[in-house]
């Protein structure tokens, strides 16, 4: 009788342990996760760090993980970040989440981390070392989506102005490739001009003001984010009809769009990635530490704002900031199962 009772107690414990494991609480409570970030000098990165702080401090408080510290290198340099990652290994972190200064230059340090048994998850600025997890953004699709939206909205087609990002950066090449692919596929548009706006409103405004006099009528402006408001100012100053400018989720862009929408029913869309992707990376690292089966390559969804949900997103975006979403453990699980 006693024996049977003992067994049943054991079984109960086992059931309890199993259900705890599913809640992903028991296994990672003692684990420490570090964020290695290469740069913090713009609004997007600041929002990214704030999201990390907010979500991880809650996770630490409720005992999901033991620690989740953020480290940013003082200078945006590959060798410095490599040294930082090696230091994080020595500090005994169980997982390192990386926004990398270079997709290739950190591979040596990342390999050292994997060899030391540390889980490495990279996001936004991803690393190519095969042992690391990658949360990438399909920037090409983002560029293509802009053109597809315009094709839908402007069935007659016409001339487009393209504002590109920082020359020589991988993200700029990808978005631009997507835009050109979209233009070729829809066959309605001609890109009549292309300038570098460096993802900054002031640069974009100057660049657009410079090229406008040489352009025929344009029906749309395809952008990369951080440049839509500057383009609108330049076009307004030139006294031209306002084309459909695709926005990039910055607060000033959304604000301007809202004003135009209220004044004359202006319609457009806005797309970018949410800085809160850092929190998705955090949960993915937590899941890997928990022993979940996670594919090495994951794709993060864009944050797209349309005519309908503009007000709602503008209200939650602080002045000078970027529209953001923070991911939860459930979101991370959805992304992971979506990639299986």
């Amino acid at each position: 009788m006693l024996r049977i009772k003992g067994i049943s107690v054991l079984a109960l414990v086992a059931v309890a342990a199993a259900s705890f494991g599913q809640a992903a609480l028991a296994d990672t409570a003692g684990k420490r996760i570090a964020l290695s970030n290469n740069y913090a000098g713009n609004s997007w990165r600041q929002a990214m760090l704030r999201s990390w702080e907010k979500v991880t401090s809650a996770a630490v408080a409720d005992g999901t993980v033991a620690a989740a510290d953020a480290f940013t290198t003082a200078e945006n340099q590959v060798t410095e970040q490599a040294a930082q990652i090696q230091n994080l290994i020595l500090q005994g972190y169980d997982a390192i989440v990386i926004n990398a200064a270079s997709p290739e230059g950190l591979n040596g340090a990342v390999k050292e981390a994997c060899d030391a048994g540390v889980t490495v998850v990279s996001f936004d600025g991803i690393v190519t070392e095969p042992c690391a997890w990658r949360i990438a953004v399909n920037f090409k699709q983002m560029g293509k989506d802009e053109v597809l939206y315009l094709a839908d909205k402007l069935p007659d087609g016409g001339n487009l102005l393209e504002i590109r990002g920082l020359a020589g950066v991988f993200v700029d090449d990808e978005i631009s490739a997507g835009i050109h692919e979209g233009v070729a596929e829809t066959g309605k548009f001609t890109i009549v001009g292309s300038v570098n706006g460096n993802w900054a409103q002031d640069v974009a405004q100057k660049a657009v003001a410079g090229i406008l006099p040489s352009l025929p009528d344009i029906v749309g402006v395809v952008t990369q984010g951080g440049d839509g408001y500057g383009a609108a100012q330049a076009i307004k100053a030139a006294g031209r009809d306002m084309p459909v400018i695709v926005m990039g989720n910055r607060q000033d862009e959304l604000q301007w769009w809202k004003e135009q929408k209220d004044a004359n029913g202006y319609e457009t869309m806005s797309v970018s990635i949410a800085p809160g992707v850092s929190t998705l990376a955090f949960w993915v690292a937590q899941q890997v530490l928990d022993g979940a089966d996670v594919p090495k390559d994951l794709t993060v969804p864009f944050l797209r704002i349309d005519q309908g949900n503009l007000e709602e997103n503008l209200a939650t975006t602080e002045a000078g900031g970027v529209a953001n979403v923070e991911y939860s453990l459930e979101d991370a699980k959805t992304v992971i199962s979506g990639a299986m």
């Binding site: 340099q77 060798t79 410095e80 490599a82 040294a83 090696q86 020595l90 290739e104 230059g105 950190l106």
Partner: protein, 313 residues
């Protein structure tokens, strides 16, 4: 006897190793995990390319010039190593040899036209960077296997970065400080007029020193790629200032002729460790550059104090 041990001259020589020791002990205390074969390896491996770049800079400082292009140069070498040396070894090595020759040519140009080296090398830093972008437009490439396996060597007992640094310091020390040829080379920095009058060609000496700098710059780039496994055109831009600071921290001076190879390697190690030390301290990154500067100033201030004590005698 005790007075001799504490004489300013000895103290000045001891300052670089003592600073390194203090830093290393603080790191061991902050993070005991570093006090192991594995820990020392991780802590010091990225210091090896910095030490090589510092030695390169030391040759330039030795002849009373300054090289502001070494960071760009090391980046270019890294890009060439990760592409050409990996794909077509013979062509790659030829390209690297041509780079060393270009460095010698720079030395000749600076000497013959009496140009300020700061201006020439600052200009060349953009040339090197531009070439690096041409060789490797987007980050990538792959380290040749033999360099990779050399840099990740795990010799018994003593970690590879320590062996490499000690060997580097000793070899350059013997060649530059203890040999007749080395004395002449240093003399060209200390008193070029006297050497010229004694019949030595200052042109040839400058070309030799610049070629040596190019040679060690090449070694630095190759070592760096061996550690990172692939390259990026901006990978080593920080090395310019690190290498100058390393030479000065190790007891070298801007006046020419007064350098110390052992000190330079120790200085490079100290700078590399200073970054780790600050990160183990959990110091806010906004303060880290300032704190790194503060460490430099403290060591240099100590040196000034010692020199004043020297004068008082």
């Amino acid at each position: 006897m005790i007075g001799a041990i504490f004489s300013p001259r000895v103290l000045r020589g001891l300052l670089p190793p003592l600073s390194l020791a203090v830093l290393l002990i603080s790191i061991f205390w902050l993070q005991p995990r570093t006090m192991s074969y594995f820990g020392l390896n991780l802590l010091l491996n990225l210091a090896v390319p910095i030490a090589l770049a510092t030695i390169a800079q030391m040759f330039i400082l030795c002849v009373n010039e300054l090289d502001l292009s070494i960071g760009g140069f090391v980046s270019l070498v890294a890009c060439i190593t990760a592409t050409w040396v990996q794909e077509t070894p013979l062509f790659g090595l030829l390209a690297l040899a041509a780079l060393i020759a270009a460095y010698a040519g720079l030395g000749a140009l600076i000497h013959i036209r009496q140009l300020p080296s700061i201006v020439v090398t600052l200009g060349m830093s953009f040339v090197w960077l531009g070439l690096a972008v041409l060789v490797l437009p987007t980050p990538g490439g792959k380290a040749p296997d033999w360099i990779r396996s050399l840099m990740t060597l795990k010799p018994p007992m003593i970690p590879f970065p320590i062996i490499a640094s000690v060997a580097l310091a000793l070899i350059v020390h013997v060649a530059l400080m203890r040999s007749a040829g080395g004395t002449v080379l240093r003399g060209a920095g200390g008193n070029p007029a006297a050497l010229a009058r004694a019949g030595w060609s200052i042109l040839r000496i400058k070309m030799t020193m610049f070629a040596l700098a190019g040679f060690f710059g090449v070694l630095s780039g190759m070592a760096l790629v061996g550690l990172t496994t692939s390259a990026d055109a901006n990978i080593a831009l920080r090395y310019t200032l690190l290498s100058i600071a390393g030479v000065i921290l190790g007891g070298g001076e801007f006046v020419g002729g007064r350098v110390s190879p052992i000190g330079a390697v120790i200085g490079a190690m100290t700078l590399a460790l200073a970054g780790s030390f600050l990160s183990f301290l959990r110091l806010n990154p906004d303060w880290q550059i300032g704190a790194q500067g503060a460490i430099l100033i403290i060591v240099l201030a100590l040196r000034l104090l010692i020199r004043q004590a020297e004068k008082r005698r």
